[in-house]
């Protein structure tokens, strides 16, 4: 039987506000343990939380960027459970009146564009961080992360494969980064997700019984968790048994999920309105003000790159999801370069260099002016394309302009006909066998001879001039 996978995601993104959600402690990654804490965020009795206005603004911003309706009335609630990373024994979250609802995000799939519904986006506080001592029977808790603001983005079960889930996560990440509400650094845990998976026979209308996978900390982890769950559930169904509704824990190292809680043991959070925090009445004026502050979003950038720059959809899509690349493209074109040439360099050598250096597209140390200059140097014939490629790593390492690098390293292209003719003659003398072959009718040795001239000039010879001079010199033989 053929099965269809149904996936819904709950994404937690840490907001990049200056302070925590309910106190004025600094919100930033790292720092010595328990040095960014106060009586509020370690949950001492008698303390009162105060809501950070920026958190509400960022939540609304994210909602608008994902086409949500923004609530006129919203409140916060207590989600009750005992766990040592949660000092108050409840998490302040939102239950029945979230900040944003009924949105969507467009993703690109192999069958074209697809709309993934956003059920809701709400604000809540993060918990502290555990480290487990492998030698002693104890765990240590650092509450620096406790009270860090989060938004939880809940998708509709509109996702049908792990590839679609990956595209959705990428789309959400690029939106959050673009609007500046989260830095989305997976390695620092600022973006995490829970994955809900079920399978059903193709054509069946009703959803199958779903499981929820927790502890998914990377996009590739989400893809593997979904594929693993799909296989596990199909195996159960094929054996004639039924899938149980349960919470599982994804272990990325093992590439497996493990049972965490059965349906009977499912948490009973007993939500109730948070009495220490007043409800919010979000004025339409504030919402419009935030809407107007939204920057150009990734899908809008993509459309503009295609329409205004005439770039292929592929290039436009890859560049638009990165703020750094989008800015580099705009600036390079602004400095007079042809858009397609700029795009080729960004997606080619520059991307390659970024990967090798394990940095991100936001960390390119040079701007559009430098890239436009590099492209102009090739077009003017000052350097060859292959020399330009050799210069890119230098552009990452020094703040010299491409032209300065070319001069400093003596990489100017050799276009002087006399000089190249001289080198060709030397190559002829050094390769008598090739010349004999040529005379014997093997004209394909031309490629070899061109290569030898390039080698002799360390790639600096102008290919067009080699071609012309080689023609002349071979004619003299």
């Amino acid at each position: 039987m053929k099965y269809e996978t149904v996936v819904g995601l709950e994404i937690h993104a840490e907001l990049s506000t200056k302070t925590k959600i309910y106190c004025s402690c600094e919100n930033s990654f790292g720092g010595s343990e328990n040095t960014r804490c106060c009586p509020v965020c370690i949950g001492l009795p008698g303390t009162l939380p105060t809501l950070n206005k920026k958190v509400v603004e960022y939540g609304i911003k994210a909602g608008l960027a994902m086409n949500c309706e923004i609530a006129e009335y919203s409140k916060q609630d207590r989600k009750n459970y005992f766990y040592p990373d949660l000092p108050k024994a409840y998490q302040i979250s939102q239950f029945d009146f979230p900040l944003c609802e009924h949105g969507f995000v467009i993703i690109d799939t192999e069958n074209g564009q697809k709309k993934i519904g956003i059920t809701r986006i709400h604000i809540e506080e993060d918990a502290g961080k555990f480290t487990h001592d492998p030698y002693r029977n104890l765990s240590r808790v650092d509450y620096n992360r406790g009270g860090v603001p989060l938004i939880e983005i809940v998708s509709e079960p509109d996702i049908r494969s792990s590839a679609e889930a990956n595209a959705f996560l990428e789309a959400v990440r690029s939106i959050l980064k673009c609007i500046g509400v989260s830095d989305c650094k997976m390695q620092e845990g600022s973006l995490r997700c829970d994955v809900n998976v079920s399978v059903r026979p193709e054509g069946q209308k009703e959803f199958g019984v779903r499981s929820e996978c927790k502890n998914v900390n990377s996009f590739s982890g989400a893809v593997r968790a979904i594929d693993y769950e799909r296989a596990r559930q199909i195996e159960i169904l094929e054996s004639g048994a039924e899938v149980e509704q349960e919470t599982r824990r994804w272990d990325d190292m093992a590439g497996k999920s493990f049972l965490l809680r059965s349906k009977e043991e499912a948490h009973d959070y007993r939500y109730f309105p948070e009495p220490d925090l007043m409800p919010m009445e979000i004025s339409r004026g504030w919402v419009e003000e935030i809407r107007e502050s939204l920057p150009e979003l990734p899908h809008e950038k993509k459309a503009r790159f295609m329409a205004e720059y005439g770039l292929p959809e592929y290039d436009s899509g890859l560049i638009s999801v990165s703020d750094g690349f989008s800015k580099l493209l705009d600036d390079t074109v602004g400095c007079g370069a042809a858009p397609k040439e700029a795009s080729n360099w960004i997606l080619g050598e520059i991307s390659k260099e970024i990967n090798e250096r394990c940095i991100t597209s936001d960390d390119v140390p040079f701007g559009g002016q430098a890239l436009a200059e590099l492209i102009a140097l090739i077009n003017k014939g000052t350097i060859s394309g292959s020399i330009a490629k050799q210069i890119v790593p230098d552009m990452f390492e020094s703040d010299k302009s491409p032209e300065e690098i070319v001069k400093a390293k003596g990489l100017l292209q050799i276009s002087d006909e006399g000089e190249i003719a001289k080198i060709i003659k030397e190559v002829f003398e050094a390769n008598p066998k090739a010349i004999e072959d040529y005379k014997g009718g093997k004209t394909n040795v031309r490629g070899f001879l061109t290569g030898q001239v390039m080698r002799a000039t360390k790639g600096k010879a102008n290919p067009a001039v080699i071609n012309k001079q080689l023609e002349i010199e071979l004619g003299k033989l």
Binding site: T17, K18, T19, S24, C25, E26, S32, E33, N34, T35, R36, C37, C38, P39, I42, L44, T50, L51, N52, K53, K54, V55, V56, Y73, K75, N80, F82, Y83, P84, F97, F130, T131, H132, D133, N137, L138, S139, R140, V141, D142, Y143, R249, L260, D268, R270, P273, P275, L277, M278, P279, M280, E281
Partner: protein, 95 residues
């Protein structure tokens, strides 16, 4: 009775409370009385009344996003039953 002994046991478990049989019986009775009292509302027609979400009528109480100094780790940890390497120590907890 509108609350069963089983429900009381469930709630006690969620609240990490150990109750004696006598306490369970008393709480079942008392909680039932509370629920019954609240159910008096069913005798009125409240369809047109908006639910009260909060006891206080105030809304939009916000704080500006400005950093204030945190406490010293030594102060934060002073009530910790056990501490190690600047952290609170708890029994080994892995979920």
């Amino acid at each position: 009775m509108s609350i069963t002994k089983k429900e009381v046991e469930h709630l006690a478990n969620l609240a990490r409370l150990t109750l004696s049989d006598d306490e369970k019986a008393r709480l079942t009775r008392e909680m039932s009385n509370i629920i019954d009292f609240a159910q008096k509302l069913d005798e009125t027609d409240y369809d047109s009344v908006k639910p009260t979400m909060h006891a206080n009528a105030k809304t939009n109480v916000f704080r500006e996003d400005e950093i204030k100094p945190s406490f010293k780790a030594s102060e934060i940890l002073q009530n910790a039953p056990q501490q190690d390497e600047g952290c609170f120590v708890v029994p080994r907890t892995v979920e």
